[in-house]
Symmetry: C2
Subunit: 339 residues, 2 copies
DNA sequence: CTGAAAGCGCTAACAA
DNA sequence: TTGTTAGCGCTTTCAG
């Protein structure tokens, strides 16, 4: 059996209460007793029992991480998976454990909460779309601190982390404009919040550069490689193809490059391509991908620290924006001069 | 507050014990009472409290999944990450939750157990190397059912899942020999168990084909893209370069292709390349990668079901081998005829 | 500054 | 077939 506070109490000749207090650093215990308790706790290899703590509603040093999507969305998940990974590391650094809730179908947020809270988690990390009023209400009413990944929403207990999609898209357009591009396409329009943000950034920067937003150059599609390939082909076949394409994700960008190639257009010589995410592999694509690094390190640090603030200091939820970095590699170049 | 068995008991006019029994399908409760209990449980939206269950040592429907490595190993992790993902889905399908233990440094198995067991997990999924006697002992003595990913080890409570590395490497060699290759390299030798297995399969198939194992063609290295690139360059620079290369992982294979290209060798025209893993992205590499699909679906299903068997039916640990599939794509071709 | 009592939700053992 | 009692390990009153 594992060591309990009773074992320590017996050893030190005191009560369990005092041990519990001492171990949590209460000032109500004399320095001398505290020291003896801490020392024997260490000696005995005491580990607090999170289940017992959780049962009475105390903190468990546990966050739930929710994968809430249909498996069809796997493509975008490569990015989400990498993010999960970094967050797991970050949480472990801060001495928190992650409890994973992975469902095959996108469930209402209320349901997610009620499946996860009984496990006594101190907080929830969530990446779902908020589609409807019910979800919004669930978030507004929750008592459990929550971090929303990539959603522009916050409430008393909910912090929304917005990555630099808007600003990243603007940066991407600017980068292309500086290199002489004037026909710049956007591939990957959808009703996902991140997509909307990226498209909005694109449109604003296009306008700012004094260019027309050409609907023909905006492709509505999913975010995976296949979708990118189709988009690449379609754009290549246009009577007047774009000289640059901003893709919704890195995977999509890789597909776009392949699609263009099928139609005889080369990257970056004929067309420049920019992605979003900066996946681990993107720097190894051929050509190496110019992309928006979403700064998963910052996102993870921010997610975990916001959550800890809400849990431990009872601070309020807020809206946090994390700017992305444009990483220029080989898939973008100067516009091809008209012959 | 959440609904408890007491609430149900009150509603049905019986005791908590009866409710508990009924809900767990005991035969000691009359069909009539059972039905009433189940019905009102559903009506009230009862969710059993896993913390209370865990506290008394009962089942919690929770497995620990351990990421136990230094972050330097990230490369190989893309494969491990994808595996995690599939296992998480599979577990959720079987109504189990995953509890993630992610540490920055590879810890002794004993320590991992003692950090994870207090959370009341029913079983542990582990992908660590077993380097020493201490780890081996920890596994032999554990009371908690455990599945070891990719390790050839089993004991009373431990099932070892061995993926088709050996057989996959043999298949790869055979595939190449059939296409006329006789100088076949292996890139990615290391002391990781999976690597040893792959190399052994390679060596056996090479010998079987009546070829010599040429030490010059066996490159000792890590498993990431960079290592692959270096290996590719090195092999290309050989006085007599290989006509085919088997790489330890897909990422490495992608690196090898890049390295070869730097030295003016093209895949598959000059050199054929085969990887291991079949990552989600591998089919989109250029050229599309021929690789050993490790069958993550089967691995996940097997991991979860073995664990459940051990947990619920108290069956013994065993050694399970999961064969891989060679997926032939565009990175392998016939040997280039000598001009 | 310290301790005794009670209870979180559940189940195993024992009793009826 | 059903119910009573006790206890898992911890923390929060409340009393010394």
């Amino acid at each position: 059996m594992a060591v309990t506070i009773y074992d320590i109490a017996k050893e030190v000749n005191t009560s369990a209460v005092t041990v519990s207090l001492a171990l949590r650093g209460s000032k109500r215990v004399s320095a001398a007793t505290k020291e003896r308790i801490v020392k024997t706790a260490r000696k005995l290899g005491y580990q607090p029992n999170p289940l017992a703590r959780g049962l009475i509603g105390a903190k468990t040093k546990t966050f739930a991480f929710v994968f809430n999507y249909s498996s069809a969305d796997f493509a975008h998940d490569l990015s989400y998976m990498e993010l999960f990974h970094v967050i797991a590391q970050e949480a472990s650094k801060q001495d928190y454990k992650l409890f994973v809730h992975s469902s095959m179908t996108a469930k209402p947020i209320q349901e997610v909460f009620s499946e996860v809270i009984p496990y006594g988690v101190d907080g929830v990390i969530l990446g779902t779309n908020i589609n409807n009023e019910t979800d919004r209400q669930a978030l507004e009413q929750t008592q459990v601190p929550t971090v929303l990944l990539g959603r522009d929403f916050y409430s008393e207990k909910v912090t929304g982390l917005v990555y630099g999609g808007y600003q990243g898209a603007r940066q991407a357009v600017k980068h292309l404009v500086e290199r002489g591009h004037r026909r710049i396409a956007f591939a990957g329009k959808s009703n996902i919040e991140a997509s909307i943000r990226r498209l909005a950034g694109y449109a604003s920067a296009i306008a700012e550069a004094g260019l027309q937003v050409d609907e023909e150059l905006i492709i509505e599609s999913g975010w995976d490689v296949e979708a990118g390939e189709i988009a690449g082909v379609r754009l290549a076949k246009l009577p007047q193809p774009p000289t640059a394409i901003i893709a919704g994700t890195d995977l999509m960008a890789i597909g776009v490059i392949a699609g263009l190639k099928e139609e005889g257009l080369n990257v970056p010589d004929d067309v420049s391509v920019i992605g979003f995410d900066n996946l681990h592999i993107s720097r190894f694509s051929i050509p190496a991908l110019t992309t928006n690094d979403m700064r998963r390190d910052l996102i993870a640090a921010s997610a975990v620290s916001s959550l800890i603030d809400m849990v431990e200091k009872d601070s309020e939820g807020q809206r946090v924006t994390i700017p992305s970095d444009l990483v220029v590699r080989d898939s973008t170049g100067k516009v091809k001069p008209l012959v």
